[in-house]
Structures are given as structure tokens and as C-alpha cells.
């Protein structure tokens, strides 16, 4: 009888341990999310954070300019990772991307905006 009770108790403890371990593992698996405020205007991007740890990076873009702008995130090699779509004057948009460590470029690819200054770099760390 005592042995059976001890066994039940052990089983309950094991189950509890399994649940806790699974939660911790879930939390570990969930990538960290970092928000980055980005302001767009003619013809400049300002990123209020210049780097973020690897994981989900949420770019919160506000267009303070008079023209429409977009935000394109590219790798250093020029591969496009994501784009907001055009953000009209006075509007906002969010672009959430899973980014690995490395250096990225933030550019506006509308008309000649990038050439006129709407480009900046962003670093993702380990």
C-alpha cells in the first residue's frame, strides 16, 4: 500500500517536472522579439535602435514626410527579406521579420528615394 502511494507520488512529480520542462523549452524555442522604431521622411531613415538580437525584429515605421515611403529590409548581399508596402504620409506600418545575426540594409525602394538618402544599416547580433 505504502509502495503504491509512493509510486503515485513519484508519478505525479514526474508529470509536473515534464510539464515544467516543456514550458521552459517552449520559452527557449520562442525567439525574442525586439521592436525598432523607424521614422521615414524626405529623404532620410532614422532607426531608433541600430541593432537587435537575433529573433523576431518588429520594425514600427512612421512616415513623418510628405511623400509615400516604404521600408525594405535587405541582407548585406542585397537579398530582400521583407517590405512594408507603401506607407502614405502621416501613416504607420509594421514589418515583423525573423532575422539571423548579420548586417542588414534598410532602404526605401520607391522612386529614387534610396539614392537620395533613405538607406541605413541595421545589425542583428547573436
Amino acid at each position: 500500500m505504502v509502495a503504491r502511494r509512493t509510486g503515485s507520488l513519484l508519478l505525479a512529480l514526474l508529470l509536473l517536472l515534464a510539464v515544467l520542462t516543456a514550458s521552459a523549452a517552449d520559452a527557449r524555442r520562442r525567439p525574442p522579439t525586439t521592436s525598432v522604431g523607424v521614422a521615414a521622411r524626405e529623404f532620410r531613415f532614422s532607426a531608433y535602435r541600430t541593432s537587435a538580437p537575433g529573433g523576431i525584429v518588429r520594425f514600427n515605421v512612421a512616415n513623418f514626410g510628405e511623400d509615400g515611403h516604404d521600408l525594405v529590409v535587405e541582407t548585406a548581399g542585397g537579398r530582400r527579406v521583407g517590405r512594408t508596402g507603401e506607407v502614405r504620409s502621416g501613416r504607420r506600418a509594421t514589418l515583423a521579420l525573423r532575422l539571423r545575426p548579420g548586417t542588414y540594409r534598410l532602404v526605401c525602394d520607391l522612386a529614387d528615394h534610396a539614392a537620395r538618402g533613405m538607406r541605413t544599416s541595421f545589425r542583428v547580433t547573436r
Binding site: 522604431g37 531613415f45 532614422s46 531608433y48 513623418f64 502621416g90
Partner: protein
């Protein structure tokens, strides 16, 4: 508590609200009026404490703030368990400032920061610049107007908003010069030529941008027009500080600014004698703001109609006040989007002229959003009813009194109190009398309803 006891208790408090205590004719009602006009309302404990201390001590406390300077007290703001990130999360800048209004030990400083944010209205600039401007306005809120004007003129957000940055001798921009006279210092008494000449004198600033959204404003003497100008009757090689000295020395400046400060605190216009006295105080102090504000806050006209307030709370004061007086802190992001829907999103005034005040706040949609805001304060704040804490066996008067205490014992007119008590009396009408005392679930709903209505009823819109 029996119905009679509850009535007695509420009645005692109402009687005490009118009873002179700390000084001649200085009551809890006076304290509440002062704390709402000069800040974001009084908690019941504050109303009682400062009614005992008297008018002079209360004014000193309100105007000077606590010894050692303003602090924030209470739990730091969090949204969805995370600390605020005003630069990178939308709306967190608004929550950051709202939190200061709720937790500051010197609410008048925040209230005047709001006044200056409206007076020197700036929008559509990078968040770091707007936050820096907000800190500058706070630091100068009660000091010298001339120093404040100098700081505003050199403030990066303002420089960019009104195109003062990069205004050069070859292409002087008139935006800042015009608003300087029309909106910031004079209102009238200047000519188009004065605007053009001031614009020339204000040339020379350049903006040097950094990648993180900050900007350094530099003065480049090579871009400044150093020729002779004539401004407001004075001729010479005028520069930036000459312009600011001339507009603040103009005879129209003191009545203009003092009148605007008065209307921020008192709904009815000042008499000529009052305006003259305020102007004399302002000029006599060397254009300092604090003595004028103190004089306005001490003026009998501010305390007229304690039972019938006539000043509409602007959305920021309505919400910050509801949260502060009920002990509710920033734990959700609803204030940001509700303030926008109510028509007053801090850091985003509609134009350089600021917001329209007074009855203009009370559009049908804005009032609907205030109703929604009340719901959120009850749901997420301290007024949230605890399940079963107000049983169905309470009398209507007891149920009302419990709700009234839970929302910080606000001023409520006799008509509203009667209406809400009547509502409490009829709230169980559809339940069989035999089951009424077991209907605690309905009593919980009654508390939600009463608390929400107390926070949003017509009385709650005025102060």
C-alpha cells in the same frame, strides 16, 4: 451597514466637503477644485488632508511641489508585462507621459507641460525629438518665460516643425517668425513687415541629422543675415535674442500670455482689474510664470460654483484624472488609442495652433469614447469590483455608496446621485423577490454599472 447608516455616512462626507476646516472657508470642495484645475484631481485622502491644512499651505504645496523636487510614486508602468519603450513601441511615448501625470508628486508641473505643449504645439517630428522637447517644456514649465522661449526657439523639434532650421540669409523662412508673434507671444500688434524682418534676424540655424533620429541644431554665422533690420520700431543689426527680447517687451505680450494662462485654469474671463493685476505680477517678476499661476490659482473666481463646475475636462485630464484619483496605473495600452479617439493624442496636436478647448471637446463621438474609457478604467484599474464583495443584500444606498468610494469619492450632483440610487433600487426588478438575496452575480453587475457611470456621468466631464 444599514441604509440609514450608509446615508448618514455619505451625508457626513458631503457635509464635511462644504465645512470650513483648515482656514476660513477652505473645504474639501475647494481642494478638489484646485487639484483638478492645477493637476489631475484629488484622492479622498488628499482632499481631507489639504482641507485641514488651509488655503495658503495647499497653494504652496500645489505650486512648489514637494521639497526636493518632483518624483513619481507607485508601480512603474508596464504593458502586457513589459516595461514601456517610448522610442520603439507606438504609443508608449503617450503612456510614458500619462504615467507621469498619474504618479507625479507635482501634478501642476505636468499640467503646465501640457499647457506649453498646446501653446508651442509641435507635431510630426521624430520621437526622440518630441520626448526631448517634452523634457524641456517640463524643466521650464514654471520658470522664466523668456528662457522658455529661448529654449523653444532652439529646440530641434520646433526648429524642424516650423522650418527655422536651414532658414538662411538667402532664403529666410517666415514660418517661425509668424507663429512667434501670432501664437507664442503677441496675438496682435505687429505687421507683415515685422514678420519678414524677424525672419531675417532668425536666420543661421542648420540641422545636422544623426542616424538614430536625433538632430543637432547648430548656429552658422555665415548663414545669418547680419544686415540692418527694423522690428517692432527698433532698428539695428538684430539677431535671434534681439527678436525674442523685443517680442517679450512688446506691450501686447504680457496681457496676451497672462490671458491665455488664465483661460487654461478658469472658464470665465477675468475682469479688467484682475487682468491688470496679473500683468503687473508677470512684468514685476521679470516675466516669470510661477507667480502668475499662483495668483490665478488663489483667485476667488477659480472657486466659483463648487457645486456646478463649468470647465470641460480635456481628454487627457479626464483620463489621467480618472486613473489618478482611483489609484489606477498604466498596465494596458488603451489610453493611447482612446485619447486619439477622444481627440487629444499627446505629441500629435492637430496644428501649430494646438487643440480647440472648451465645449469643442464634447463631440458626440468623443463623448462615446469617454464612455468606453470609463469601462477600461473599471475593468483594468482599482475600481474593478471583486466578485461577491458587494452582496445583493445591500440596500440601494449602500450599493451606491460602495461604488462611490471605489471610484475615489468624486463630486456628484444630487440629481446624479438620486438617478444612480434609483437605478440600484430597480436593478433586481426582474428577479423574483424570494431569490434576490442570492443574486450576488447581479449585484456584481450593479457595481460594474455604478462605477462606470460615476466615472463617465455628466458630473465627471467637468471640473
Amino acid at each position: 451597514m444599514s441604509a440609514t447608516a450608509a446615508r448618514r455616512r455619505h451625508g457626513r462626507r458631503r457635509a464635511h466637503a462644504r465645512r470650513p476646516s483648515g482656514g476660513r472657508g477652505w473645504t474639501e470642495a475647494h481642494v478638489r477644485r484646485l487639484f483638478w484645475r492645477a493637476g489631475f484631481g484629488a484622492t479622498p485622502a488628499e482632499a481631507r488632508r489639504w482641507a485641514r491644512r488651509g488655503k495658503a499651505a495647499t497653494l504652496d504645496h500645489v505650486v512648489n511641489g514637494p521639497p526636493g523636487g518632483a518624483r513619481v510614486r507607485g508601480p512603474a508602468p508596464r504593458v502586457e508585462q513589459r516595461p514601456l519603450d517610448p522610442l520603439n513601441e507606438w504609443g508608449d511615448d503617450v503612456l510614458w507621459w500619462l504615467d507621469r501625470m498619474i504618479r507625479s508628486t507635482h501634478p501642476l508641473q505636468e499640467k503646465l507641460t501640457l499647457f506649453w505643449h498646446d501653446h508651442f504645439a509641435t507635431a510630426d517630428q521624430d520621437t526622440p525629438l518630441m520626448l526631448a522637447q517634452n523634457r524641456m517644456l517640463r524643466a521650464n514649465a514654471l520658470g522664466s518665460f523668456r528662457e522658455l522661449l529661448g529654449a523653444v526657439t532652439r529646440d530641434p523639434a520646433m526648429q524642424l516643425f516650423l522650418s527655422l532650421a536651414d532658414s538662411t540669409k538667402d532664403a529666410p523662412n517666415e514660418n517661425y517668425a509668424r507663429e512667434l508673434m501670432e501664437l507664442f507671444t503677441l496675438g496682435s500688434g505687429y505687421s507683415e513687415r515685422d514678420v519678414r524682418e524677424a525672419a531675417r534676424a532668425l536666420t543661421g540655424y542648420t540641422a545636422d541629422w544623426h542616424d538614430d533620429g536625433t538632430v543637432t541644431i547648430k548656429y552658422d554665422a555665415g548663414q545669418h543675415d547680419d544686415g540692418v533690420k527694423t522690428l517692432l520700431g527698433r532698428r539695428g543689426r538684430l539677431g535671434v535674442d534681439d527678436v525674442l527680447d523685443l517680442v517679450t517687451a512688446h506691450p501686447n505680450h504680457a496681457p496676451f500670455l497672462v490671458g491665455k494662462l488664465w483661460s487654461f485654469f478658469v472658464a470665465t474671463p477675468p475682469s479688467r482689474a484682475t487682468l491688470r493685476a496679473l500683468v503687473a505680477t508677470y512684468r514685476g517678476s521679470g516675466l516669470r510664470i510661477e507667480p502668475v499661476v499662483r495668483q490665478i490659482l488663489a483667485h476667488p473666481q477659480l472657486y466659483r460654483g463648487l457645486d456646478a463646475p463649468d470647465m470641460v475636462k480635456c481628454p487627457v485630464v479626464f483620463l489621467a484624472g480618472a486613473m489618478r484619483t482611483t489609484g489606477t496605473y498604466v498596465t494596458q495600452d488603451y489610453p493611447t488609442w482612446l485619447l486619439e479617439l477622444m481627440g487629444q493624442l499627446p505629441f500629435s496636436p492637430p496644428s501649430v495652433a494646438g487643440w480647440d478647448w472648451g465645449a469643442a471637446w464634447m463631440s458626440s463621438n468623443a463623448m462615446r469614447q469617454r464612455f468606453v474609457a470609463g469601462n477600461h478604467v473599471v475593468q483594468y484599474g482599482r475600481p474593478r469590483p471583486r466578485k461577491g464583495a458587494a452582496p445583493a443584500s445591500l440596500t440601494p444606498q449602500e450599493a451606491y455608496a460602495r461604488a462611490w468610494r471605489a471610484v475615489g469619492e468624486p463630486r456628484v450632483s444630487a440629481a446624479t446621485r438620486a438617478t444612480l440610487t434609483h437605478l440600484a433600487a430597480r436593478f433586481f426588478d426582474d428577479i423574483d423577490a424570494r431569490w434576490r438575496d442570492q443574486a450576488d452575480w447581479r449585484a456584481d453587475a450593479l457595481q460594474w454599472t455604478l462605477r462606470h457611470l460615476l466615472l463617465t456621468c455628466p458630473d465627471a466631464q467637468l471640473h
